[in-house]
C-alpha cells in the first residue's frame, strides 16, 4: 500500500516537471496545449493521491477542482487565445537546445536550494518538494526566453503549477476555502490574459512581445 502510494506520488510529481521541460522543447501551440493539459492532470493526480492516502475529504475536493481547472478549463481557454495552428514560437530569445541545457542546470539548482525545506517536511512528499521548485524555475525560464504571448501565459502557468505542487507536498494543500479562491484567481488571470492576447493580435497583428516598444523612459 505504502509503496504504491509513494510510487504513484513520485510518478505524478515527476510528470509535472517533465511536462515543464517539454514546454521548452515544443514550438507549436497545438502540441504545447497537450503538454499543459497533461501537466494540469498530473498535478490533480498528486493532490488526489495525497488526499486518498491521508483520507482527507477536503483535499480530494481540492484535487477535483484542480483537475477541472488546470486539466481542462485552462487548456481550453489557451486554445481559444491561440491564433490557430499557425501560431508558433519561431525565434525564442534562447534557442531550444540552450533552453534544455539551462533547464538541467535549473533542476540541479532547485534540488540544492530546496534541500532544507525537503528535510523539514520529510517522508516521500518532502523528498519531492525540489521537483515543484524545479518546475517553478523552468517556468521562469519560459517567461523570460519566449516571445509569443501564448508562451508567456504558459510560463506563468508553469510557475503557478510548480508552487501548487510544493503546496500539496508540503502541507497537503492550503485549506479548501483558500484553495478555491486561489484556483478561481488563476482561472480569471488566464481569462484576462486570453482577452488581452486577442486584443494584442487585433491591434498589432502577429507579434512577438519584445516588439512592444510604446512605453519607455
Amino acid at each position: 500500500m505504502s509503496s504504491a502510494y509513494s510510487s504513484t506520488l513520485t510518478l505524478a510529481a515527476g510528470a509535472v516537471l517533465i511536462c515543464a521541460v517539454v514546454v521548452l522543447w515544443v514550438t507549436s501551440t497545438r502540441s504545447m496545449l497537450i503538454v499543459v493539459a497533461t501537466q494540469g492532470t498530473a498535478l490533480g493526480c498528486v493532490a488526489m493521491t495525497l488526499g486518498v492516502h491521508v483520507g482527507d475529504a477536503g483535499l480530494i475536493a481540492t484535487a477535483a477542482v484542480e483537475l477541472a481547472v488546470k486539466g481542462l478549463a485552462i487548456p481550453v481557454l489557451i486554445d481559444r487565445a491561440a491564433g490557430g495552428a499557425l501560431d508558433r514560437e519561431r525565434r525564442p530569445l534562447v534557442n531550444v537546445p540552450a533552453s534544455l541545457v539551462a533547464s538541467a542546470a535549473l533542476i540541479v539548482l532547485a534540488f540544492t536550494a530546496a534541500r532544507g525545506v525537503a528535510t523539514f517536511v520529510g517522508a516521500t512528499s518532502g523528498a519531492l518538494v525540489p521537483v515543484g521548485v524545479a518546475t517553478l524555475l523552468v517556468g521562469f525560464l519560459v517567461l523570460v526566453s519566449r516571445r509569443r504571448p501564448i508562451f508567456q501565459m504558459v510560463g506563468l502557468l508553469l510557475v503557478d503549477n510548480g508552487i501548487a505542487l510544493v503546496a500539496f507536498l508540503c502541507t497537503a494543500g492550503v485549506p479548501f476555502l483558500i484553495e478555491v479562491g486561489v484556483s478561481l484567481d488563476v482561472l480569471l488571470a488566464v481569462v484576462v490574459l486570453m482577452v488581452l492576447a486577442q486584443r494584442l493580435r487585433s491591434e498589432f497583428g502577429d507579434l512577438d512581445l519584445d516588439e512592444l516598444r510604446e512605453l519607455h523612459d
Binding site: L156, C170, T171, I178, D185, L196, R199
Partner: protein
C-alpha cells in the same frame, strides 16, 4: 456586521452602474463610498482601546491597523469615484468611450475598492492573498481601459509581472503555513494572523526566513519595490486618472500592509534583524532607481509614478526601523502620500484632458493659463516633496527620527541624499510646467467647481493631518502597537 456592510457597500455601488446606466449611478457610487468611509471612521474610533471587531463568521477582523487602512482606502475611493464621474462624462462626450464601456469601468472600480477592503479586513493571510491577487485581475482591464497600443502593452506587462510576484508571495504564504502546521496549528485556522502571532515563537526559523523573503519579494512587486517595479510607471501612466489615483494612492500601500503583517510574525519568531536587513536593501535600491529615473523623466504621469516608487522606498525604510514610532510614521506617510498622490493624479488627468499631452515639455505656463489646475498641481507637488505644512513632512521627520533611534541613521542619510536629488529633479520639471508667461493670450475655462472642490479638499486634509495629528494620533499609536512587540 458593520465589517460586512463596509465590504458590501462598494459592491452595491457597482451594481448601481448596471441598474442605471447614466451619470446618476456615478453619484450613487460616490454616496455609498462616502457611507463606507463613515462606517470605517466609526470602526477606527471603536478600534482604539477595544477588542478587535469581527465579521462574516470570523473571516473578517478589524484591529486598529485594519481600521486605519479602511479609512485610508475609503478616503481615496471617495475622491477617485467623485472625479471618476467627471472623467467618464468627458470621455463619453468626446466619443473616446462608449456608454457600455463606461458602465464596465464603474463596476470594475467599485469591485477594485471592495477587493482592497477585503485585503485589509481579512483575518486570514490566505484570504488576504486571494484579495490582493483579485485587485490585480480587476485592475488589468482598468489599466487597458483606453484600448490604445500603450494601454495594451502596459496591461500585459502589469498582469504578467504582478502575477509572477504574487505567485511568489503565495509560495511564501505556503511556507509560513508549513511552519505553522509543524508548530501545532490546526489546518483551518493556522493561517489566521492571530494564530500565527500566537505560535510565532515555535515557527521553524530557516523555513520562515525563506518564506518571509519570498513574501517581501512577492508583495514587494505589487508595492512597486525594486527589483520587480518595472510595471508601475507603465500601468500608472496609461490608466485613467482615477484608477491611477487608486492604484498609486492605496493599492501599493495595501500590498505593503501585507508585508507589515508578515513582518510582525517574522520579528516575533526571529527577532528584528532579518526583516530589517531585507527591507533596508529593497528600500535603498528603490530610492536609488526612483532618483535616477526621475532626473530624465519627460512625461508628468510617469514622473508621478516614479515618485510613488520613491515613497514606497521611504515607507519600507521606516518599516525596517520597526519600533512603534517608526510604524506610526509609516502609517501617517501612507495616508499623506495617498491623499497627495491621488490629488496629483486626478489633477494630471484634468491637465491631460485640457492640454492633450502628457509630456512635460508639452505643458507650460500652467499657473498663468489655468490657475486652478496649475495651483492644485503645484501645491500637490509641494506636499508630495515633503515640505511643511503637509503631513508628509511630519511623517518623514517621524520616520527619520525613528531610524536614528533604531541604529539606521546611515540609511536615513542615504535616503535623504536620494530625496534631495528627487527634489531638484521634480522642481525642475514642475518649473517648466507651471511657470512662465503664456505665449499667446488666451482665456481658458477653469474646471467646474464640483471638480475642483474635492481636489482642494484633499490637499486641505493632507495639510490638516500634518498640522494637527490629533484626530489620528490615538489611532496611529494603537495601529503601530498591533504590529510591534
Amino acid at each position: 456586521m458593520v465589517l460586512d456592510m463596509i465590504l458590501a457597500l462598494p459592491l452595491l455601488g457597482g451594481a448601481g452602474f448596471v441598474a442605471w446606466r447614466n451619470q446618476a449611478a456615478g453619484w450613487i457610487a460616490v454616496a455609498v463610498n462616502g457611507v463606507a468611509l463613515a462606517l470605517g471612521v466609526w470602526v477606527a474610533i471603536r478600534a482604539v482601546g477595544n477588542a478587535p471587531l469581527s465579521g462574516a463568521e470570523g473571516l473578517l477582523r478589524a484591529d486598529a491597523l485594519s481600521a486605519f487602512m479602511v479609512v485610508v482606502i475609503g478616503t481615496i475611493a471617495l475622491l477617485a469615484s467623485w472625479i471618476g464621474v467627471r472623467t467618464m462624462a468627458v470621455e463619453v462626450a468626446g466619443g473616446r468611450c462608449t456608454p457600455r464601456r463606461a458602465t464596465t469601468y464603474g463596476v470594475l472600480v467599485q469591485a477594485f475598492v471592495a477587493a482592497m477592503l477585503l485585503a485589509v479586513l481579512a483575518a486570514n493571510v490566505g484570504v488576504l492573498w486571494v484579495a490582493v491577487e483579485a485587485t490585480t485581475i480587476i485592475t488589468v482591464f482598468l489599466v487597458g481601459h483606453r484600448r490604445t497600443r500603450g494601454a495594451l502593452e502596459a496591461s500585459w506587462k502589469y498582469l504578467v509581472i504582478c502575477s509572477v510576484g504574487i505567485a511568489l508571495a503565495f509560495f511564501g504564504t505556503v511556507l509560513v503555513y508549513l511552519c505553522a502546521l509543524h508548530a501545532g496549528g490546526h489546518s483551518a485556522s493556522a493561517l489566521d494572523w492571530t494564530s500565527l502571532m500566537a505560535r510565532a515563537r515555535h515557527l521553524d526559523p530557516s523555513v520562515l526566513r525563506l518564506g518571509f523573503a519570498l513574501i517581501v519579494l512577492g508583495y514587494g512587486t505589487k508595492v512597486g519595490l525594486v527589483p520587480l517595479h518595472s510595471w508601475l510607471p507603465d500601468a500608472h501612466s496609461q490608466a485613467p486618472a482615477p484608477v491611477s489615483a487608486l492604484m498609486s494612492g492605496v493599492l501599493l500601500t495595501v500590498a505593503f500592509y501585507a508585508i507589515l503583517r508578515f513582518k510582525a510574525v517574522t520579528d516575533a519568531a526571529l527577532g528584528p534583524g532579518f526583516s530589517r536587513t531585507l527591507l533596508v536593501v529593497v528600500a535603498l535600491a528603490s530610492l536609488a532607481v526612483a532618483a535616477s529615473l526621475l532626473l530624465t523623466q519627460r512625461d508628468y504621469k510617469r514622473m508621478l509614478a516614479y515618485h510613488s516608487i520613491e515613497h514606497m522606498g521611504l515607507i519600507a525604510l521606516g518599516a525596517a526601523a520597526g519600533i512603534p514610532l517608526a510604524i506610526a510614521g509609516v502609517l501617517l506617510h501612507i495616508f499623506g502620500h495617498g491623499l497627495a498622490k491621488s490629488v496629483l493624479f486626478l489633477t494630471s488627468g484634468e491637465i491631460m484632458a485640457a492640454e492633450g499631452t502628457s509630456r512635460i515639455d508639452g505643458v507650460h505656463a500652467l499657473l498663468a493659463r489655468r490657475p486652478t489646475l496649475g495651483g492644485v498641481f503645484g501645491i500637490g507637488l509641494v506636499a508630495l516633496l515633503g515640505l511643511p505644512p503637509f503631513s508628509l513632512f511630519s511623517s518623514e521627520l517621524l520616520m527619520a527620527r525613528a531610524e536614528f533611534q533604531a541604529g539606521l541613521g546611515w540609511a536615513a542619510v542615504v535616503a535623504l541624499v536620494a530625496m534631495v536629488v528627487i527634489f531638484v529633479a521634480v522642481v525642475g520639471h514642475a518649473r517648466h510646467m507651471l511657470l512662465g508667461a503664456p505665449s499667446t493670450p488666451e482665456t481658458l475655462a477653469p474646471p467646474p467647481a464640483w471638480v475642483a472642490t474635492p481636489l482642494v479638499m484633499g490637499l486641505i486634509a493632507c495639510g490638516l493631518i500634518g498640522i494637527f495629528a490629533w484626530p489620528l494620533s490615538g489611532l496611529l499609536e494603537a495601529a503601530a502597537h498591533v504590529v510591534t512587540p
